[in-house]
């Protein structure tokens, strides 16, 4: 069998070599150690020596040919062999030098022309402003920026949220007591992000008996010896929060024009004050006890009474589930219009002694009317009704609120 001489790998990573020139012609006798051929790489030229003796039977890569490593470049006839032996090694033409394919230049991806991407000019707002706006559900569109080149910065969001607090995006639907309806200003255009068109609301009302709650409240306040004074409202906030835990689909609102299911259970409280409305928010209300909720709301109201203008920071927003308590005004019930960013508003009326039919008897009971207004695009009636049922059960079995 003749020996096939391959293009050697002269160095690590060498993939191909060029035949500089053959130093022996076909038919020449070759001794071990004779230089057969000079092979060039990109840096070096190497003399390639015969590893054994014989006759150079065939050259398959001529001078100047560039061939891959381990490709046959010649055949060496060993002692006693002649050209006929070459036939044994299949058809030489099949092992002959394949031309080295010079593929199209591989252009690095980064250099290829990219299709022009058209981008609308982004509203300039600082990262901090964007974060605060997101937290407070304030739309950046329409705000004028005080920063460099009109960039919207933190101070612009703070100003906008003060405006929003002074004129909350909640209006009382008629009919309502004029003395209460008056402070409710029409919503700001920018806070009606999803638009008034197609706004559909559902109002669901439940009457809750609160004698047990009032009794528990009295006992708890007595036991507290003045360290806290629980209001009915505190029970309502806690019950609303626990009901949301059970019916999380009611914990929704808007961010810009998209609906948002909230992870945290935060309850906003809107209280009527002499000269307007005050919004406070109890974060993670489901994980706070009655006394904590009471203290938080109390602190907030005290603060806002002292401050000449309400302070805006990210603890005082007005998103999420909202409770409006109109009981202090003697309002029996009201359906409040839900406006973005809110998804649900619970309006609590006054607790009043009424005749309630139980079995066939008519018995006196203290009853509090609670109306859940839902934005129908976010919450359907079934979810709202379920939430209200859970809420009513909690209010009527108030020990569950201290469990």
């Amino acid at each position: 069998m003749p020996r096939t001489i391959m293009m050697p790998a002269l160095s690590a990573g060498m993939e191909e070599g060029t035949i500089a020139r053959w130093l022996k012609p076909v038919g020449a006798a070759v001794a071990k150690g004779d230089v057969l051929v000079e092979i060039e790489t990109d840096k070096a030229t190497m003399e390639y020596e015969a590893e054994e003796g014989g006759i150079l039977g065939a050259i398959m890569a001529d001078d100047g040919a560039t061939v891959p490593v381990n490709t046959a470049i010649a055949m060496l006839l060993l002692e006693g062999e002649d050209n006929a032996a070459l036939a044994e090694v299949a058809d030489i033409s099949t092992v002959a030098t394949p031309p080295v394919e010079q593929g199209p230049m591989d252009v690095p991806v980064s250099l290829r022309a990219e299709p022009e991407v058209t981008r609308s000019r982004r509203l300039a707002a600082s990262p901090l402003a964007r974060r605060l706006a997101r937290q407070r559900n304030i739309a950046l569109e329409g705000l004028s920026g005080s920063g460099a080149r009109g960039r919207i910065v933190r101070i612009d969001i703070e100003r906008a949220s003060q405006t929003a607090v002074a004129a909350p995006a909640v209006v009382v639907a008629p009919p309502a007591s004029p003395s209460v309806a008056q402070p409710f200003a029409p919503p700001q255009a920018h806070s009606a992000a999803p638009g008034w068109e197609g706004l559909s609301q559902i109002y669901l009302t439940a009457r809750c008996e609160v004698d047990a709650l009032l009794d528990l409240r009295a006992r708890l306040n007595e036991a507290g010896c003045g360290t806290y004074t629980l209001l009915v409202n505190d029970f309502v906030v806690r019950a609303a929060a626990l009901a949301l835990r059970e019916v999380p689909n009611a914990n929704v609102g808007w961010i810009g024009s998209s609906s948002q299911l909230y992870d945290n259970i935060d309850i906003s409280m809107i209280s009527a004050a002499e000269d307007g409305l005050v919004t406070s928010i109890v974060r993670h209300a489901d994980s706070k006890g009655l006394a904590a909720i009471s203290a938080e709301i109390g602190d907030f109201l005290a603060d806002s009474a002292c401050a000449s203008t309400p302070q805006g920071d990210d603890n005082r927003g007005g998103s999420g589930f909202t409770v409006v308590n109109l009981g202090a005004f003697g309002v029996e019930s009201a359906g409040v219009t839900v406006n973005a960013p809110r998804g649900c508003v619970l309006t609590v009326g006054a607790a009043e002694r009424r005749a309630v039919v139980k079995g066939d008897a008519c018995v006196p009971a203290t009853v509090m009317s609670c109306t859940l207004s839902v934005d129908h695009r976010l919450v359907d009636a079934a979810v709202g009704a379920r939430w209200l049922a859970v809420f009513k059960a909690l209010i009527e079995q108030p020990l569950r609120l201290v469990a």
């Binding site: 790998a9 002269l10 070096a44 960039r151």
Partner: protein
């Protein structure tokens, strides 16, 4: 011919050619010759295996073989004792192995018995290192060019030509100071003889009489450039004449000649007579790297290669031993076969066949998460340090001149810790150097305050070698920060990278002091703030104290730290007065702890060194409610993110203030890190105040214009206020 007015001068040091005579060969200890033979055969087999693996594409990166040069390394190393040390260059497998073998088998490797376990272990760990594997001496980090095994006296080899030479001088300094009598050999080639690191170190080693042998392996070619093309005096040992270093020239293909020269050099060095030079004429049979001969690249002829091969050092020793009937041909062949079998065997532990190809056993690679391990230490050395911030200082605080406190704390530390040694230009004169920062130290510690030649690269590298040795703590002064460029290789390639490059656990306890001199009219080449450049060099810690009180605590921490620490000083601070402790110079301020010096809500100002005071003044003058944070620690690991993030979360706005010019400025990377970490806290882009584009000029007016001024600070503060919608009137 004598001529009137001409007097012949002679160099102060001898320069000789040493040849081994036939009598020397006859007199040579048979055990020595056997050891030489075994050592060289092992080294050769090892390197042939490396080239074989390189040919298979299994050595990532270059494999610089010294096949043919073994006589120089083995001949000299067998003249050493185990506690002597060496370092080398990119071509150092032979020196590394010869030293390791000599250390592990001090009585010699036998030629007629199987190799011991230690020979196998050394070979395997060295090969694993060259392949980049976790079991290597440097956990695969160093590879072929960074081999370190400190225990055996292998200080670490170097890929920068001549770069290891100053470090070797540091080790020699430590031996001299410790009085052990140990010596250091630094090996390098003909290509390194013309580089500054080597020549500067020759001068310094001779001036300080260090036990350091400059061993030149003159193999004639720097890659493909012949030695006679690049120097007029190609007998390279002649360099010694310029520095008063005795020099021996020997035939490196004759290991006994090398050995005899090394013995003479070592005797002189151990006797405290200073450095030596040995030039060994050797030849690498192959090209710079890889398995091809140099002739394949056309820069030398096959005839020349053949001529050198006929003088092969292994065959020479075998022949001389045979002539004395110490060994037979068969035994030599058996020795070579045993060495080859050993290398095949250890390769089998590291390499496997996989789908018709050879590959590294995958489980042996280092884990990718080892990438950054050990770029710096963990500061556990400071865990017990007594930290006292100024607000909590129980004693009296007085106003003191900054520069006096600089000298006082060093005096205090040097009294308490005899390991500390101070070096730099003029630090021992002029009543405490050019600024008085080393006042009184030379008088108190005359042998520990060293005035250096003007050769920053050599003396800071020497200090690096002292630090790595570990017995002493060098404190280097650069008279001006800009001189870091002069010393850049030692500062950034050697000192900064050593711990990481050699596997992550060797220490580098070095303190570099320098003073920012903007405002003194020293012009373009003396007026930089180096913090920005040092901050790019992972490995350096940087502190920049703005008060005498902080200086004391930060210098104490720098001196206790096992990493290199740059301590920045400032000429404006030197002459200023600030709060300083009375009666206690031993407390620490932690590395990596910034300090809030003003509290406010509208912006955070980050600054350091001499800019702290003007920033506070400007904030007060404008009535801005700003958090002003004196960074104090400036390196990547030293940024006090908890403090900065707490501040930025409140203020939403940040201004970085520094004095120096834009190009080398510090704040750029910090701004990037802030935006990456704190983007959602920001109410405007990270803002910066710094000097102009050009280096400060000498003209007083131009210099003032080039540096950050109080007006620039005020403009920066106003701009940050305006861009948050709170423009100041």
């Amino acid at each position: 011919m004598e001529k009137a007015g001409i007097q012949q001068l002679t160099p102060m040091s001898p320069w000789v050619q040493l040849n081994a005579t036939p009598d020397d060969w006859v007199a040579a200890d048979p055990k020595l010759l056997a050891n030489m033979l075994a050592s060289m055969v092992l080294v050769r087999s090892f390197e042939e295996k490396v080239l074989e693996l390189a040919g298979q594409g299994l050595v990532h990166g270059p494999a610089h073989s010294a096949i043919g040069q073994e006589g120089g390394a083995t001949g000299s190393i067998l003249a050493m004792r185990g506690s002597d040390q060496i370092n080398g260059s990119h071509r150092a497998h032979h020196q590394f192995l010869a030293k390791a073998l000599h250390y592990a088998a001090p009585k010699g490797v036998a030629v007629d018995r199987p190799f011991g376990d230690e020979v196998r272990a050394i070979s395997q760990r060295a090969l694993a290192e060259i392949l980049g594997l976790a079991q290597g001496y440097c956990r695969g980090r160093g590879g072929s060019m960074h081999l370190r095994w400190a225990e055996a006296g292998n200080l670490g080899t170097n890929a920068i030509v001549g770069g290891g030479v100053p470090m070797a001088a540091g080790a020699a300094w430590a031996h001299k100071r410790a009085g052990t009598g140990d010596v250091v050999f630094t090996y390098f080639g003909d290509g390194a003889v013309n580089i500054g690191s080597v020549l500067e170190t020759m001068n310094l080693a001779a001036a300080w009489k260090l036990p350091l042998c400059f061993f030149i392996e003159n193999n004639r070619y720097a890659v493909s450039t012949h030695v006679e093309e690049v120097t007029a005096e190609s007998r390279l040992s002649a360099r010694g004449l310029a520095f008063g270093i005795p020099a021996w020239k020997v035939d490196g293909m004759d290991p006994l000649a090398v050995h005899l020269a090394a013995q003479e050099a070592i005797a002189r060095m151990r006797a405290g007579e200073g450095p030596a030079i040995i030039e060994a004429d050797v030849y690498r049979y192959f090209h710079q790297n890889g398995p091809l001969p140099g002739s394949a690249f056309g820069y030398r002829s096959r005839d020349e290669e053949q001529a050198w091969r006929t003088r092969d050092p292994i065959e020479r020793v075998a022949a001389e031993m045979a002539a004395r009937q110490l060994i037979g041909e068969d035994s030599v062949a058996a020795l070579r076969a045993r060495a080859k079998a050993l290398m095949d065997d250890i390769t089998g532990e590291l390499v496997e066949d996989h789908e018709d190809k050879r590959r590294i056993v995958p489980a042996l690679w280092p884990s990718p998460d080892f990438r950054d391990f050990g770029v710096r230490g963990d500061l556990s050395e400071l865990a017990e340090a007594r930290v006292v911030e100024m607000e909590d200082f129980p004693g009296e605080i007085v106003e003191a001149r900054f520069v006096d406190v600089v000298a006082d704390v060093m005096e205090r530390r040097m009294s308490a810790d005899p390991r500390i040694v101070v070096m730099g230009e003029d630090v021992h004169r002029l009543k405490g150097g050019t600024n008085g920062a080393t006042r009184g130290l030379a008088a108190a510690f005359p042998d520990r305050v060293l005035g250096t030649p003007i050769a920053e690269n050599a003396f800071v590298g020497l200090a690096g070698g002292i630090a790595m040795d570990g017995r002493f703590i060098p404190v280097v002064e650069f008279m001006y920060p800009d001189f870091m460029w002069v010393a850049a290789d030692q500062v950034f390639n050697q000192i900064a990278k050593a711990r990481h490059m050699f596997g992550g656990d060797s220490e580098m306890p070095l303190v570099l002091r320098t003073k920012v001199a903007m405002g003194t009219g020293y012009g373009s080449q003396h007026s930089m703030d180096p913090a920005g450049i040092f901050a790019t060099s992972v490995g350096w810690r940087i502190v920049a104290p703005s008060t005498p009180y902080d200086y004391v605590g930060l210098m104490n921490s720098a001196l206790a730290c096992k990493d290199p620490v740059l301590v920045l000083e400032h000429v404006d601070l030197y002459t200023s007065k600030g709060p300083a402790p009375v009666g206690d110079l031993d407390y620490h301020i932690p590395l990596g702890k910034a300090k809030r010096v003003r509290r406010g809500e509208q912006m955070t100002v980050l600054t350091y060194l001499a800019m702290v005071r003007p920033v506070v003044e400007a904030v007060d003058r404008l009535g801005i409610s700003a958090d002003v944070i004196d960074l104090r620690s400036l390196d990547r690991a030293g940024i006090d993110w908890p403090l900065i993030e707490e501040s930025l979360d409140r203020t939403g706005n940040v201004l970085i203030v520094e004095q120096g010019s834009a190009g080398t400025s510090y704040g750029g990377w910090l701004a990037d890190a802030i935006q990456a970490r704190c983007f959602d806290m920001l109410d405007q882009p990270v803002r910066r105040v710094h000097g102009g584009e050009a280096s400060p000029s000498i003209s007083k007016v131009l210099e003032a214009a080039a540096c950050c001024s109080p007006a620039d600070i005020e403009a920066g503060l106003r701009s940050v206020m305006a861009d948050q919608g709170l423009a100041l009137v």
